[in-house]
């Protein structure tokens, strides 16, 4: 082999070795990059779970509060209108004790099991009246103290609710209707109001399609056989609240149950609609913090 050929082979060998070395270094660099990327993704995924869990715990507590208060909600927000349906019962039972017990349980035992710091403030729910607020300023008030026994749907700042129609359905369990004093059914008002009554003795009556004035005052009362007190439905200007509805129960027997279903149609708010109880929830787990009201839903 000539000296010239030998030199060329040496040069080829060096180039081949260097190429292989570079290729392998590139492979190592790529492997290290890929491995670090997967690790980053895994950390991000696990960090997101903390947020998901916070939402789960908050939802769990909201469900428990709502269960004790016994107000069911169904809200459909579509085609320019929000249809709000609320169901409750009068007398509602005294929630003070049960809510205080729930608050203590959630802050103590439940908080420890979730390995989180949970602080709740139910003061505005245990003052004798539970307020459910809507993001468009509407308010559903459920008074349950002995001397205050009513549900009321109104604007929070006492303005006009803007409701276009109301469907009020009452069912009285354990009392027979003796007499009723209906409201004057208007024909030129701007709010369509329907009222249906029935009881466990088979009595029923309804007044449908009334066009009431939002600022007028309308009362519809029901009296019962051998019972003191009455059931009074107010619409319109209720205690200074415009276009509002109030159902007040003064029946002297607390065993008589009044089931109320209130359907309201309001213009759909541009920013969507969500609703919550006027109570504070604070949740902390490591770096995840949630400070908000007891959120019940959104539509």
């Amino acid at each position: 082999m000539s000296e010239k050929n030998c030199g060329r082979m040496n040069a080829n060998g060096i180039i081949l070795s260097l190429s292989t070395l570079l290729l392998l270094i590139t492979v190592i660099w790529f492997s290290a990059f890929y491995s670090a990327k997967v690790e980053r993704q895994e950390n991000n995924t696990l960090a997101n779970f903390a947020i998901e869990k916070a939402g789960f715990v908050a939802g769990d507590m909201a469900f428990d509060v709502n269960k004790l208060l016994g107000i069911s909600q169904d809200v459909n927000n579509a085609q320019g209108f929000a249809l709000i349906k609320l169901n409750g019962k009068l007398p509602a039972g005294n929630h003070r004790q049960s809510l205080a017990l729930l608050e203590s349980f959630l802050e103590g035992t439940y908080s420890a099991r979730q390995n989180a710091e949970i602080r709740l403030d139910f003061n505005r729910l245990i003052d004798g009246s539970a307020e459910m607020e809507f993001s468009n300023g509407l308010l559903y008030e459920h008074a349950y103290a002995n001397d205050l026994n009513f549900v009321q749907f109104r604007k929070k700042d006492s303005g006009n609710t803007g409701a276009l129609s109301y469907d009020i359905t009452l069912f009285v369990n354990g009392a027979r209707l003796l007499d009723s004093s209906p409201w004057i059914c208007g024909t030129e008002g701007d709010v369509n109001v329907n009222l249906r009554y029935s009881d466990s003795f088979g009595e029923s009556q309804s007044l449908l399609g009334c066009k009431q004035s939002a600022g007028g005052t309308y009362l519809y009362s029901f009296e019962f056989v051998e019972l003191e007190g009455s059931l009074v439905v107010s619409f319109g200007n209720v205690d200074g609240n415009i276009n509002a509805v109030k159902v007040r129960n003064t029946i002297a027997n607390p065993n008589i149950e009044v089931f109320i279903s209130l359907g309201v149609k309001v213009p759909s708010p541009a920013a969507g609609l969500y609703w919550y109880y006027d109570a504070d929830l604070n949740y902390a787990q490591q770096n995840t913090l949630v400070n908000r009201k007891i959120l019940l839903g959104s539509a």
Partner: protein, 143 residues
């Protein structure tokens, strides 16, 4: 002269360097395993199961009646690959479960599992009773 290979020291060194670099790359790639996905999926399954059981009233009913048939029935509707163990503890005794349901056909032979808790309110006079439901989920291990 017979044909043969000549292995010199520099060829051996080159081979060694090649193998070391290859092993390093393989080690990095072996480490790159995305485990969070399956763990997250188990946790989400456990959360969804508990939410459905509470909101459908099945948990409260089971605790009130001290019967776990419906809970077992629900766990049986989960995908075959998921195993679950549901325990309900009274707030007064967090060590002994008031109810214990293991999905039929599952054994607790897991390497990885996810555990989620949820509070339950059971209406009772004069005061409501509070419980904690704990659901552990894992992937079924083939035997």
């Amino acid at each position: 002269m017979r044909n043969g290979f000549v292995i010199s020291f520099d060829a051996l060194a080159a081979l060694l360097i090649f193998l070391v670099l290859l092993a390093t790359a393989t080690a990095y790639l072996a480490k790159a395993e995305f485990k969070a996905g399956s763990s997250l999926s188990l946790k989400e399954t456990a959360m969804d199961c508990l939410a459905v059981l509470e909101e459908s009233g099945k948990l409260e009913k089971a605790v009130s009646s001290d019967r776990s048939n419906e809970l077992r029935g629900f766990l049986n509707t989960l995908p075959y690959s998921i195993c679950a163990d549901l325990r309900v503890y009274s707030q007064n005794d967090l060590n002994t479960p008031a109810l214990l349901v293991l999905r039929p056909g599952c054994r607790q032979n897991f390497r990885e599992s996810a555990t989620i808790q949820r509070s339950i309110v059971v209406e009772s006079a004069p005061n409501p009773l509070f419980y904690i439901a704990e659901l552990r989920a894992w992937y079924r291990v083939a035997e």
